[in-house]
């Protein structure tokens, strides 16, 4: 599999570390149930999924990668710093 890093260009999957689904972090005072959902609950779609990948053996960017889990097609790649995943602070 190859992922196009917005900074480095197309790279082999071996350079990346996979974290999991890209979710928006709840606000600090959010209900525990919301936190439980954020930390523990995951959709498992056979289709497009927003994921976090870390270009560990490259430029150190965290990326939001939209990948079709059924075909491995990469639909979009974005720097995670621009993806608004930090939630309200």
């Amino acid at each position: 599999m190859r992922i196009t890093c917005p900074l480095c260009g197309e790279r082999d999957r071996r350079e990346f570390y996979y974290k999991g689904a890209a979710l928006v972090r709840p606000a600090e005072g959010a209900d525990l149930d919301v936190w439980h959902g954020y930390v523990n609950l995951r959709e498992n779609p056979a289709g497009p999924l927003d994921e976090l990948w870390y270009h560990e053996m490259g430029c150190n960017s965290w990326l939001k990668v939209t990948r079709d889990t059924a075909t491995h097609e990469i639909l979009a790649v974005q720097l995670a710093s621009e993806a608004g995943l930090g939630g309200e602070t």
């Binding site: 900074l7 560990e56 053996m57 490259g58 430029c59 150190n60």
Partner: protein, 181 residues
């Protein structure tokens, strides 16, 4: 009074010559990570230009020349190689001394591209990876920085502690490439 003696990362490991290729240790001078603070990219680049004569490099590029180079070093960071950074840079960027953190070697000669093709999963052929181009990638299992410094010459960097593995892996690949003739 006793005096502390400096030792280079590849001390006792290099040089190595295989076929028409040579692997030598570089003395890069000072090495400082330069990471511009929020909104300071432009100001930093200007300060860098004024103090050291080279702009802050774009992604996958190196600026400057041998002895005074700024090598893109990953997200929001360049490695200034050669001069001690001008104090003014600190107004615009985090400066971190890395002079002792990296082993720096030079691989040169016919076949150098083929050697790297055995270790680095990135296209480093001359047509796409020209002089002044650089990548952050892996060399075998090590985080590495690879920069083309000449038609058949590359500067390769890995963590200092891995110098022995770097030389082992490069030498093994050099031997295999040379054996093919």
């Amino acid at each position: 009074m006793a005096e502390l003696i400096a030792k280079s990362p590849c001390d006792g490991l290099l040089p190595v010559t295989v076929g028409g290729m040579s692997l030598t240790e570089e003395d890069p001078g000072a090495m400082w990570a330069v990471a511009p603070f929020n909104g300071e990219d432009k100001a930093l680049s200007q300060a860098l230009e004024a103090a050291h004569g080279m702009a802050f490099p774009a992604a996958n590029r190196a600026t400057g020349k041998a002895g005074s180079r700024a090598v893109w070093f990953g997200r929001g960071m360049a490695l200034l190689m050669g001069p001690e950074p001008d104090a003014k840079l600190a107004e615009h960027a985090a400066l971190t001394d890395q002079s002792d953190a990296w082993a720096v070697v030079r691989l040169e000669g016919q076949g150098a591209e083929d050697v790297l093709a055995r270790l680095v999963p990135v296209d480093l052929r001359a047509a796409v990876f020209k002089r002044g181009h650089t990548v952050r990638s892996e060399l075998k299992h090590m985080m590495a920085s690879v920069t083309r410094t000449g038609p058949q010459a590359f500067q390769i960097m890995v963590f200092r502690s891995m110098a022995k593995t770097l030389v082992h892996d490069l030498k093994t690949a050099m031997e295999a490439v040379a054996a093919r003739g």
